[in-house]
């Protein structure tokens, strides 16, 4: 670093009081910017809450006026109009099944790659690394599912989510930090390979597994395009698809729609606040498609 040599000396007049005034000014500007952004982030949320608590008549009179009384009817209405309990159950099922299978199979892919246990493990790793840049698999994937007879079925839909290259790379990188000596001593003690991965490696890579689990689960939960393509039966809709279909039918009934959106957003927000650290690290490492 040549910071020292390239920086100029300040003029001698720069004294303590002006420095503190400078600090104050920085602080004010900072809060000003943060405040403006906060409005843009809280605004849509407030509008959603405000709308969900109003009657339709009130909403049409003035969309942004505060509700005259706290009305919860919209929540019941939305809950009854659409099959939200069913959609929620489907979403939970897809998330649990897809994330469970993905994490389980990935552990056993990531470990040998991290160790270089077989010839071509580097080639395999590269195959995961370039996934981001490969052509979209959309069309042939559809043909595959169609020909497997899995179109419009739940197993077919779950199958689409059993792969996550970024999650795999996170696991591989983390496993590289686990000392190899562990392998040898475990093998010497006669520990079988599956038991070794589950009872020795897994506890050591918990943070990475948590990150990958969160990343994958949120991806499955929030997916909107794939259910639109693969699931035409209302009984199979996950919550995202259910919500968009509901919006299509009751689009002009904003109070009911806002209540529906809110009912789905609140559990996510609560989870987010509780699991913030894992969620942020998970989504940041997986921040590829938006």
């Amino acid at each position: 670093m040549n910071v020292r040599t390239t920086l100029q000396r300040p003029p001698l007049a720069a004294s303590a009081p002006s420095a503190s005034r400078q600090a104050l000014r920085t602080k004010i500007v900072s809060y000003l910017i943060l405040g403006v952004f906060a409005i843009v982030y809280i605004g849509p949320l407030l509008m959603l809450v405000n709308t969900a608590l109003k009657s339709l008549a009130e909403f049409y009179r003035d969309p942004i006026a505060l509700p005259s009384s706290l009305m919860l009817d919209n929540f019941f209405e939305a809950w009854e109009l659409a099959n939200f309990p069913g959609y929620l159950m489907n979403s939970v099922f897809y998330v649990v099944a897809a994330t469970g299978i993905f994490v389980l199979t990935s552990l056993f892919v990531a470990f040998p790659i991290a160790r270089g246990y077989f010839k071509g493990s580097n080639v395999l790793l590269t195959l995961y690394l370039i996934a981001l840049f490969l052509p979209a698999a959309l069309i042939p994937q559809f043909q595959l599912i169609l020909h497997l007879g899995l179109y419009n079925t739940q197993p077919g839909y779950i199958l689409l989510f059993l792969v996550n290259p970024i999650g795999m790379i996170i696991l591989v990188n983390y496993m590289k930090s686990i000392p190899r000596e562990l392998d040898e001593s475990a093998a010497m003690d006669g520990c079988s390979y599956p038991r070794f991965v589950f009872s020795i490696i897994l506890p050591l890579i918990k943070p990475a597994v948590a990150t990958v689990t969160v990343l994958h689960a949120i991806g499955v939960w929030n997916e909107l395009i794939l259910p639109t393509i693969y699931l035409t039966k209302d009984d199979f809709y996950p919550i995202t698809r259910g919500l968009i279909v509901f919006a299509g039918v009751y689009g002009s009934n904003w109070p009911a729609l806002a209540a529906a959106v809110l009912m789905l957003a609140i559990p996510m927000l609560v989870l987010y606040i509780i699991l913030q650290r894992h969620i942020v690290s998970g989504l940041t490492s997986g921040s590829v498609k938006g």
Binding site: V3, F108, A131, P140, V163, A187, T240, G290
Partner: protein, 314 residues
Amino acid sequence: MNIIKRHYLFGGGRLGYAAPLLLLAPGVFLYLLIAVGPSLATFAFSFTDATGIGGVPVNFIGLENYAEFLFRGLRSRDNLEAVWRTVAFSVFVTSIQFFLGLILALILNQALKGRTFFRTLYFMPVILGVAIQGLMWKLFLLPRGGPVAQVLGAFGAKSEFLGGPPLEAFAWVIVVQIWANVGITMVIFLAGMQAIRADLYDAAKVDGANGWQLFKHVTWPQLTPAINTNFLLNIVGSLQAWALFLVLIGYRPGTQVLGYLVYAEGFGRTSGAVTTAFRQGFAAAASIVLFLLVLVAALVANYIVIRRERRYME
């Protein structure tokens, strides 16, 4: 490489030497089956007239899909416009999101009261997902009496927002896209800033560096890994992103980007309609065009990144 010896490590189990390879197989098989295979097969499909309807024969038609994409009068004009729109979308989203994410991270990297609150708030849309993001903004941008409409009204302006002229609707999708994802950029920058050694700042301060000089000579060069990550992720991500278009405006002429075009050609323009003619061969060709776009962008981005690194290495 002592492969044999390493395999022997776990030779004690009932599965024998092959245990690691046997257990590796399901995951790799799934990856090849669902991701790599279909991805590569996109090239093959792009030379056919596949429809996606079971029982309809698939014929090899050579470069016809590409010819149609590029050289068939009005239709290809729409396609090429979608290509340019995708590029424009990516340029605006990448540059604005990068800049705003950097500003927010710089502000939140100071010892300010409430910084955790603001960071949490700006990241929030990321977990809500496109369906909720989109519906929230549709309501926020309500043309008649909505909050943004009222603010504009106070200045005597009027807008139909997402229902307005294509260019305007398109611009609003850019706004929502940035709103939804700037939190990611910010958090990556913040992580990069927290990894910068404090003594570098101390040394520069001793030399009397002011705020701007600290940023220019310490933060910016030291932030290189985060800058590279954000730059690459934003470019590739925004070229491929289109789900917000689906939620916010639907398939409207004059607004669609390439990703949406692929979807609309391959699976019908209205969601859920099963009867429209699906042109999956053509859609595959369009995804190859998108792929080439991503490839070129990634190579250019990579070139810029390497050049920057070399400059700071000296």
